[in-house]
Assembly symmetry: C2
Homo-oligomer: 310 residues x 2
């Protein structure tokens, strides 16, 4: 089940190649370590730990969200059942912690505390994301921008910040450098989430592996829709009227809502948000002494995060 | 949800007192640390970490097993839903790791690796326990005694061994002492599981909080039934005939099966197993230099483990 979740085999154990994720978190972990001149194995152990935590969280998220597809295949709970998928996620998390803890060295405790703290934030963000689905789009109980931001920071930013800083913590890099890399990771997380939100509405199902307009149908509170509702003008008002009854959207209404979000400027606002967050992440990287060549690679990676599949 | 899972409040948040578990693992953690002369806070942090892991595993186990009752109340997934209960378990696990990792000191990494390794064994044991439910009672595919033993060692022994050794690892106790305490924990785990198996068939639902004959109805592979089937004689053969079709037992058949397990000697065999494992655990404790007064307390605790609610 763990191999399946990592994209290494089919549900029946047949090996596959190329079915994994984008590898963003591993790349950040290795580059974060390289940026402070850490030993190669410190970047690798950080990458392994972060990827195991990421795979664990996807496995459990799909259980919670009821998502039936992941990376163009069945999700783990669809393939094996809910109980086994929960258990596989638990095993992946245990292995992440154990891998990092067994690395040894004087800063292992600090690194493990950071990984576990990131997971605590990730869980809180995921919990908020679930709760937000039950909240209305408009009125006094609507999800406020600051709430969305805190949710995204937990759900996405915490693990990216962890990825960039785990190697440096193991290598005892100076605290201001660790802090700058962590802030870069949080900014990238906000950018990443804004792009994910765009893909959740306008992404090509053939590329994302997820149903079209899926986030709109389920009432997920995403950046483009919140930005569109906050705008003034006829499209924003029509969108509010469409969403405010709080009844599930059918395919036709969802397509209509997506058009209104775009007309009200929500799509552009999310793209602008992603670009501005990436710029802020780059500022963080340029503000502290890091290996210049590695910074170049990190900057190239941040560009990919915004431009992927759009 | 975490407070509810720990027995501190009702599902709506109303505080309750006295609703927690038996506290066996915390007691073992504090006594394990005391036995090697560790600092008080090393025993306490070990106890907190182990109890959080235990509560996490109960929360997820109830999801996997579909158990609707836990400690005389609804289980967490019944009270809050499956997704939130999975998430609450994840948060409890993250908090366990973080608590231990933040303790600091030079042996934190080793302690965290031990906790995570125990959890990996626990997950494997729980996975086997689930898979065994699908296996037949008789024939070539039946669960063998060695398989049962490995499952119980993972599901129950690993965390008891971890509880007894976490404080000593933090305090850098000599490896032979840590090893003896670990082996004592594994023996106690086998005893504990044998007693749990007895309670799962003959326990008073008013005390255990679980349905009568519940393990028989669901086809759970437990020590008394495996021992009864391995025995010779008419009761064993009648039991095999009753169980081998592999169809779920109704209440009447389950009561009949329980009687046959007892008549074939399965109940006494499980009790003898528990007592012999407790004796082996005591031998481990007497074989290495430990604080004598703490050993007395540990021995008293091992007696409780066998005699509880029988």
């Amino acid at each position: 089940m763990a191999s399946f979740a990592l994209g290494w085999c089919e549900a029946d154990g047949t090996p596959v190649t190329g079915g994994g994720g984008k590898g963003v978190r591993q790349a950040l972990a290795v580059l974060g370590a390289e940026a402070v001149g850490a030993a190669g194995d410190e970047g690798v152990v950080a990458a392994v730990a972060v990827e195991l935590v990421h795979t664990f969280s996807l496995t459990h998220d799909d259980v919670m969200d009821g998502d039936e597809r992941r990376r163009h295949r069945e999700s783990a709970w669809r393939a094996y059942g809910t109980g086994p998928a929960v258990l596989a996620g638990d095993a992946l998390f245990a292995l992440a912690v154990e891998t990092l803890a067994r690395h040894g060295g004087g800063h292992t405790g600090a690194a493990v505390a950071r990984l576990a703290g990131s997971l605590r934030e990730l869980v809180r963000g995921q919990a908020d994301d679930l709760l937000f689905e039950e909240r209305p789009w408009t009125g006094a109980a609507a999800v406020r921008p600051a709430e969305y931001e805190a949710m995204a920071a937990g759900k996405t930013g915490s693990l990216l910040a962890c990825a960039l800083t785990l190697g440096p913590v193991l290598a005892d890099a100076p605290p201001p450098v660790v802090e700058a890399l962590g802030e870069a990771g949080r900014q990238l997380g906000a950018a990443f989430q804004a792009v994910d939100d765009l893909l959740g509405i306008w992404g090509d199902p053939g590329t994302t592996g997820k149903p079209v307009h899926g986030d709109l149908v389920r009432g997920k509170k995403t950046f483009p829709v919140l930005a569109a509702l906050a705008a003034d003008g006829p499209a924003a008002r029509e969108l509010a009227a469409l969403l405010s009854p709080g009844i599930p959207l059918d395919a036709v209404s969802a397509r209509r809502a997506a058009g209104l979000v775009e007309a009200a400027g929500g799509r552009n606002a999310a793209l602008a948000e992603a670009r501005s967050r990436v710029a802020a992440a780059r500022e963080c990287l340029y503000g502290v002494p890091l290996a210049p060549r590695t910074v170049d690679e990190l900057v190239a990676l941040t560009g990919f995060l915004v431009d992927r599949r759009l």
